[in-house]
């Protein structure tokens, strides 16, 4: 992260340093991967998810953050190794912690959806019924 402007990667291509300008691409993550969650921003949906799973905190979602891909807010889905873009009608708060909670909620909804690509992959390759 090279800026304090939370919308930096929405408003620019993120090519800031001399080295980045030389190679024509941004170096590193577009968000702080080490930011630990502030549970004060946890949403009711995520609290319900934690309860269903028998967890008392966000567990694996602690590593999920709102990122930015091609000037769109997006969340990385490790199950498909790709970015899921945030619908444009979702208003982004001016706080990374709140944005991260939106990203976590969105990712759960996508991963648990019957339209997730893993559903098709599983049909093709599953070993256990």
């Amino acid at each position: 992260m090279s800026t304090d402007n939370i919308d930096h990667f929405l408003e620019t291509d993120g090519v800031d340093t001399e080295r980045e300008k030389d190679i024509g691409q941004h170096i590193g993550y577009r968000y702080d991967v080490n930011l630990v969650p502030d549970m004060a921003y946890c949403t009711p949906f995520l609290k319900k998810y934690m309860e269903v799973m028998g967890w008392t905190d966000l567990n694996w979602l602690e590593d999920v953050h709102m990122g930015y891909e091609e000037n769109r807010a997006a969340v990385f889905d490790r199950n498909i190794n790709g970015w899921v873009t945030v619908p444009e009608d979702i208003e982004l708060p001016d706080n990374q912690q709140e944005r991260d909670m939106i990203a976590r909620e969105l990712l759960i909804k996508f991963q648990m959806s019957s339209n997730h690509p893993m559903v098709d992959l599983r049909k093709a390759y599953e070993k256990f019924k």
Partner: protein
């Protein structure tokens, strides 16, 4: 250096689409609440079962666990695991799984969701490639504890061997006691909390992620540097440790925070050029 970018543009490399490959997958961000994978077994935490693993081999034990999940059991206790290898692996479900005894190598690997409790010890590579859930070990763990872990909480209340969290890509590893040499080697993301002492070359070649140490540091590996502890770090540490009945020996605020110095972040946009030339 400016010439490098110029040259790469001349060769047309920047028209090459390295990102993208967009797939349109529609889902509703406001659709009904569904908290589990579409293929997961419907289990009830209040429905419990137990079985004695003595005389059973590893595949039989793992299949038995799967069968009990299929029958809706959400809490399963395995007695006498007898330190067999590869027990409790590949569980992609919400589940409370208890092992009364010790596990051998590669216990609870590749899991995504379950809460596992092990009353004894574990061998090498416990919870390797763990995706989500919790694994709590009451005694000691072997080397490469949490290797290539991606997410969830992995807790050993005793000591662990060397190369803890090697290639860690996410999640939280907590060690109540000491950890051996080369812990956090090539760590890429996630958090490691060592309440006791850490062995040689801690965090060697770590790319990112955070290591918190409550005891003594033997020495740091290449590109592992001290970071600034924030109030949020301290709160997170106290909350996380408290969930497992642990606490930092001198208080979370006095733990040493270690991060990547990022001096090994070497990017070279000529890499695509080289590939293109080879092809």
């Amino acid at each position: 250096m400016a010439g490098v970018a110029h040259k790469s543009h001349e060769m047309g490399l920047h028209s090459e689409q390295l990102s993208g490959r967009t797939q349109q997958r529609f889902f509703s961000a406001t659709e009904e609440e569904n908290f589990v994978y579409p293929w997961s077994y419907e289990v009830d935490f209040d429905k419990s079962a137990q079985f004695d693993a003595e005389g059973m081999d590893t595949p039989q034990i793992n299949v038995k666990i799967r069968e009990l999940m299929q029958q809706g059991h959400g809490t399963i206790t395995v007695k006498n695991p007898m330190a067999r290898h590869s027990l409790g692996v590949g569980i992609l479900n919400r589940l409370n799984l208890n092992f009364e005894g010790s596990l051998g190598y590669f216990g609870c690997g590749l899991i995504d969701g379950p809460n596992v409790h092990i009353s004894g010890r574990v061998g090498w590579s416990c919870a390797e490639n763990m995706m989500a859930g919790t694994v709590v070990i009451e005694k000691n763990g072997g080397s490469t504890f949490g290797a290539a872990m991606r997410g969830g909480d992995l807790v050993c209340k005793g000591d662990v061997g060397s190369r803890t969290g090697i290639d860690q890509k996410g999640g939280t590893i907590i060690v109540g006691g000491r950890t051996g040499a080369f812990s956090g080697f090539m760590m890429q993301r996630g958090r490691m909390v060592i309440l006791g002492d850490a062995g040689k070359n801690l965090g060697d070649s770590m790319y990112d992620g955070t290591i918190y140490v409550g005891g003594k540091l033997t020495d740091l590996g290449v590109d592992c540097v001290e970071g600034e502890m924030t109030d949020l770090d301290v709160k997170w540490l106290n909350d996380k440790l408290g969930k497992y009945g642990l606490e930092a020996p001198n208080g979370a605020e006095n733990m040493t925070k270690l991060v990547s110095g990022k001096q090994l972040w070497n990017y070279d946009n000529l890499e695509p050029t080289e590939k293109k030339l080879v092809l």
